[in-house]
Symmetry: C2
Subunit: 241 residues, 2 copies
Amino acid sequence: MMTLKRHLLLISNSTLHGGGYLEHCQEQIQKFLGEQVKRVLFVPYALHDRDDYARTARKKFESLGYGLDSIHEAADPVEAVQKSEAIFIGGGNTFRLLKTLYDNGLIPVIRKRIFEDGIPYIGSSAGTNVATISINTTNDMPIVYPPSLQALGLVPFNINPHYLDSDANSKHMGETREQRISQYHEELDTPPVLGLREGCILLVEGNKAKLLGITKARLFLRGQAPTEHDPGHDFSFLLDQ
Amino acid sequence: MMTLKRHLLLISNSTLHGGGYLEHCQEQIQKFLGEQVKRVLFVPYALHDRDDYARTARKKFESLGYGLDSIHEAADPVEAVQKSEAIFIGGGNTFRLLKTLYDNGLIPVIRKRIFEDGIPYIGSSAGTNVATISINTTNDMPIVYPPSLQALGLVPFNINPHYLDSDANSKHMGETREQRISQYHEELDTPPVLGLREGCILLVEGNKAKLLGITKARLFLRGQAPTEHDPGHDFSFLLDQ
Ligand SMILES: [Ca+2]
Ligand SMILES: [Ca+2]
């Protein structure tokens, strides 16, 4: 198998309860981007107020020593991706985010930068969903209709960010997260789903994938019982599809 | 305004905590169908195991004095709708349900039976979502990709079934239900969303709509603060779009 130029940091959630924006993952972000990257291209499409979102992200990245350009301020978003040193796609509504990526013709150009040029990609929440094969396992409400649920396909499986255990004391009768994912796996030929609890981060370097962060991940393979995995776990086998 | 032949019973949830299938709404179902209806056509498309689902629904409807035919057992689903006396669409995954309605060419024929022939329609959960203008406010995971999010359009607004208040004690950072609905209303020209808590039922008769059941509903109008409404509330104004 050819080793792909692929550097991904896929974060379950931007903010952990009690902490600040990207605080729980800031060390991993710095280690991931390293000292070569000077500026990050931010994609704020998942939230409605892009100016406000870019301000929040800029403040955080500047505090970590990186400049930040927001793609919504660029005259030509495709060109902004072509010139970027690193990409960070933030959370919000996954349907809105994916539709805007399609509307602006960004899917092929981002893929090219990741797979051919090897620039680092950071995703958080919705930005993690769109990094995967499809957004079939987002938790978000379908507030808009993207032209496809297929996403960037930077990894050949699905992620469920903000993975949530069911609450045995709840009187709510809506489906649990696990039931929703098992309904996905009732459909034919559906790929693995990695449930990333809040606090989980998946690091992908070429053909290697490893769980970082402070919480366990729950892995769902079609037709099999789900399994629990500690931080440090090697998930490289999920890349062999 | 012309009075439409429209008889809808839109139920938030099939099962209420501690009760049996359709138990909390069985009196409303009997009153709604009345004595003229002898058989109900059941649409089990929202769940994977249609045989099992039809058995559950048949048992319940037979206990209430109605025969039940499941559309998945009919040679021609369009013809089954054309010959039906009443339709009941059950809950499960809304995306799967809507896609199957499109795949089987059932959208126009169901609309015709409701609006022109005036047969009664019962929806529960996903079956309530698809009765509305679109499935943009479903809670379900997009496990399949329907050709559109537009639905039966039996009412000109959206419903959020299983509406859930946010839990002030939760440490989970995923969006609350109210945040998700407000993200929908950030999009242009989005219609009202009626949040039906578990226990809520909306009765629509022609141009009149009334809240039944045992819980309050929460109404979201674009650009306005949400409002709370008790059982018995007249929601007819939502039909004037
Ligand atoms: Ca989200
Ligand atoms: Ca459902």
